[in-house]
């Protein structure tokens, strides 16, 4: 039963991943400039000095004279095997660059996600349990401030405060240089926004559940207050919270781009920005593709989580 659900859901994510791949390919195709000239290591300005025979040879070599659809299929075939081409700018395999950057970003996302889930849910629960009291107002204020704070600006403020004014944390640099503490400020910077969203959703979902009859029943049969809240309340309020958490991947990845850049963390975000500054279209394609696939997979995991936490759902 469960295997069928997983298999069906896996199949459903295939068209999405193919679509993302198509988008990444078209992105490369749309970019101005001739990839053959770029591959020869020349700028567009030098176009007049290019030997036409040499250009034709490079075109042939890169398969650029074939019809678009053939180029697409060839590119797709290679991309699915993890071969995103060789960067014209750094002459390194794009896949190598992407997979080197991946662990940093994954570590950052895992840390951020767990921080956001724990603090967001705690804030939301406190807010719901103490509804209408001052604790609730403070928690809600934190949540609205969190939703409204621009991630990249918050990162700068954190850096200014906690690595310059009060030098507790390193200003920037990778984990390999400072250890895990290098991740502290970036994690905090990215986690604020999703934590606030999770808090808001936890609060409203909890409030809805707490008004139901079964909560009164649970209280009436003499269960402790916190047991009622956590076991009967939270357990039933968790579904919309999981949905919001599932949506956070895009949010986190978006935040990671700016924050990795600010704190000089060598992750996917920094790589993407590097590709954009250097106009390295293959690198951009590779990064977009990997991020898109990761997003599709995270959606998949969320859907499967639903099945696990809520036995009523059997899609």
């Amino acid at each position: 039963m469960l295997t069928t659900v997983i298999l069906r859901r896996l199949l459903l994510s295939v068209p999405t991943i193919l679509g993302v791949a198509t988008l990444a390919f078209l992105l490369g195709h749309m970019s101005p400039g001739d990839p053959a000239i770029a591959a020869m290591g020349l700028d567009l300005d030098g176009e007049s000095m290019i030997d036409p025979d040499e250009l034709a040879r490079v075109r042939e070599e890169l398969g650029l004279n074939k019809p678009l659809i053939v180029q697409y299929l060839q590119w797709l075939g290679r991309a699915l095997q993890g071969n995103f081409g060789t960067s014209y700018v750094s002459s390194t395999a794009v896949s190598e660059m992407v997979f080197e950057a991946l662990p940093t970003t994954m570590l950052l996302l895992i840390l951020t996600m767990s921080t956001a889930i724990v603090s967001g849910m705690a804030l939301g629960i406190v807010s719901a349990v103490f509804r209408g009291r001052s604790m609730d107002y403070v928690a809600r204020m934190i949540a609205i401030i969190g939703v409204s704070t621009p991630t990249f600006w918050f990162a700068l403020v954190l850096m200014l405060t906690f690595s310059f004014a009060i030098p507790i944390f390193p200003m920037n640099g990778p984990v390999s240089e400072h250890g895990l503490i290098a991740m502290a400020l970036p994690t905090l910077a990215i986690a604020l926004h999703p934590a606030a969203l999770i808090a808001r959703m936890t609060r409203s979902s909890m409030l809805e559940v707490l008004s139901q009859d079964m909560i009164r029943t649970a209280t009436a049969k003499g269960l402790g207050k916190w047991r009622v809240f956590m076991v009967h309340g939270l357990r039933n309020a968790i579904n919309p919270v999981v949905t919001v958490i599932g949506f956070q991947f895009a949010n986190l990845m978006g935040g990671a781009v700016a924050v990795e850049f600010i704190f000089s963390l060598p992750g996917l975000g920094s790589l993407l920005i590097e590709g954009i500054y250097e106009k390295d279209i293959l690198l951009i394609q590779g990064a977009v593709l990997v991020i898109g696939i990761a997003f599709a997979l995270s959606n998949l995991i969320v859907d499967l989580l639903y099945v696990v936490i809520d036995p009523r759902i059997r899609v």
């Binding site: 068209p15 749309m30 621009p150 600006w153 895009a250 978006g254 500054y277 106009k279 977009v288 997003f295």
Partner: protein
């Protein structure tokens, strides 16, 4: 979905005209203190688009190297930047840039997205299936990454920034519009429209869409803040508005270089950005409670 206020409104048109109802609804919306605050703040910010030249005390591009990096003072309440430009004036003009880009983007996204979503939901079948697949693909790439990639391909000009920011909004509006259309399309009054032989387009735009307007307005107010945030992130990363046009994101990025000894250059535009986000988020919350009490997860 249960009855939305606008639906009840339609049934009441026999006794009251739409204008009075709208006025009453608006009055009710403003009866909350928080809504008054967010509405007022939003209006002030929007007003800045028009009156920026009268509020700013200096032209945004007036360079005065002798005063470079001077801290906040009476003449320059937010200090000056590396070129001696008045940060306060640039922040005010920056509001104009950010908010007008936000408005244009959201309007463009709304018109395109709602049309696509409404047609998709109304027609159903394979058209709907294909459109929704495409929407899902676009939604699989985080907004800022999509925008970054597009701007890097198209070049950082104003139209390409608006286009890059709109694509994601189009898909979000399309989703919400489709959902609302699906929820009203099987109602009796739509069947009645069919029965008297109205064209599909007329049914969608004249009869169905006005009844789905609640969730769309809520989404628009939330996305306005969202777009402004994405634009400033783009500008911060150097892929948005280019100097000397003032934009909060660009100012924060420039100030980043002087962060440790002239923090005012990036702190003040950031505060304004934060204030704008607060205004739009609170307004969105208020509008959601007011217009769409059941729908919680628009974004």
């Amino acid at each position: 979905m249960t009855m939305t206020p606008s639906q009840t409104a339609e049934q009441a048109t026999a006794t009251k005209n739409d204008w009075t109802l709208l006025k009453e609804s608006f009055k009710h919306f403003l009866s909350s203190k928080l809504n008054r605050f967010s509405f007022g703040l939003t209006m002030c910010l929007l007003l800045l688009i028009v009156i920026a030249p009268f509020v700013a005390t200096y032209p945004y591009d007036e360079i005065n190297p002798a005063l470079g990096l001077s801290p906040p003072s009476w003449e320059h309440p937010m200090g000056t930047d590396q070129a001696g430009r008045d940060v306060f004036s640039r922040v005010i003009y920056g509001a104009r840039t950010s908010l007008s880009i936000g408005l244009v983007t959201v309007l463009f996204g709304l018109l395109t997205g709602v049309t696509i979503g409404a047609v998709s939901g109304y027609l159903g079948g394979w058209v709907d299936e294909i459109i929704m697949r495409i929407v899902e693909i676009f939604m699989s790439i985080p907004g800022i990454i999509m925008a970054l990639a597009l701007v890097s391909v198209l070049g950082p000009s104003l139209p390409s920034i608006v286009l890059a920011l709109s694509i994601r909004r189009i898909t979000q509006f399309a989703r919400v519009a489709r959902g609302s259309v699906l929820s009203v399309k099987s109602q009796d009054y739509v069947t009645a429209c069919h029965a008297i032989g109205m064209s599909n387009l007329r049914i969608i735009f004249v009869h169905i869409l006005p009844n789905c307007i609640g969730p769309i307005i809520v989404l628009a107010s939330v996305l306005l803040g969202n777009v402004i945030l994405t634009e400033s992130t783009l500008s911060f990363l150097g892929m948005g508005i280019q100097e000397p046009t003032p934009s909060w994101g660009t100012m924060i990025a420039k100030g980043n270089e002087y962060l440790t000894f002239a923090p005012w250059i990036s702190v003040f535009p950031g505060l304004f950005l934060f204030l704008t986000m607060i205004a739009f988020n609170l307004l969105g919350d208020g509008l959601r409670d007011h217009l769409d009490p059941r729908g919680g997860s628009a974004v």
